[in-house]
Amino acid sequence: MDTYQWLLVFHVTGAFLLLGGGAIAAALSLSALGRERPSEIVLLFGLIRIAVVAIMAGTLLAFVFGLWLVHEAGYGYADGWVIAAILLLIVANAMGGMGGKRDEATAKLARELAASGDAPSQELKARVRDPISLTLSYGSGLVLIAVLALMVWKPGA
């Protein structure tokens, strides 16, 4: 395999970790929506950490090897689709990060409730279903799908 193909392998691996990690986080957080016992929410939110590691590693791989590929393949860093993809990746990460911080606060409350009797709580239920957190997290996933579309269509290239 030549340099271009090796770079593509690492870039695509990053994309799989990023989008796959998003799918893991989505599946586990959707499962948490229907739970009421704090300890169950602690468990599911805890497993989401595995997805966060995949998302972070995937973002780094996709970004670094993506930029390298732009150079190797002879595209320009000022090309519209390249700039749009970078901006959308930043937006997706910012949205995911903000959603993640809100989820961390929810997980902390769930841990406290689990340690003090593990009784269902209306406050915890409301936080798990918080529309702002859900919009940020799932919106981040949709933005990543838009980045994938840009990578495939490369409009203007």
Binding site: Q5, V9, G20, A23, R35
Partner: protein
């Protein structure tokens, strides 16, 4: 640079193929994670089995269909005479042999007997590894 030029009509099937494959990877990994977690936290085994079952039905099955339809669609456009190179064959082996493995996982999840469920994380972890082999092969085109 010729390798980078792709007819516009290939983009939609390629997009669907990659999107389906990435979601398939993530949802299969979710079932593996839930299965391994159930082994170490038996008190939550029922909850985690339910998570795995729902993820299988609502995640793995539709993602597999999107990935496989996208694969067949772009294969028909890129290799209309059926003269596929080896790296395409790797993808088809992983997807078509994988359907048997996924069927077994689906049956095990439907049965939901404690001892039977022990096999689920192992089978899904194997399929996650096979998917990694497929994406390396399909992007590197050795």
């Amino acid at each position: 640079m010729l390798a980078l030029i792709r007819p516009d009509s290939w983009n939609l099937p390629l997009f669907l193929h990659i999107l389906g494959a990435t979601v398939l990877f993530g949802t299969t990994a979710t079932v593996a994670i839930a299965g391994f977690a159930a082994r170490s936290k038996p008190d939550y085994a029922q909850l985690l089995a339910r998570v795995a079952q729902r993820t299988f039905m609502l995640g793995i099955v539709p993602a597999y269909i999107v990935m496989r339809v996208g694969a067949q669609w772009i294969d028909g456009k890129e290799f209309p005479n059926g003269d596929e190179p080896g790296w395409v064959g790797v993808g088809f082996i992983v997807s078509d042999a994988g359907v048997i493995l996924l069927l077994i996982v689906g049956i095990l999840l439907a049965v939901r007997r404690q001892r039977v469920l022990l096999a689920v994380p192992i089978l899904t972890a194997l399929y996650v590894a096979a998917l990694a082999v497929a994406w390396v092969s399909m992007s590197g085109k050795p």
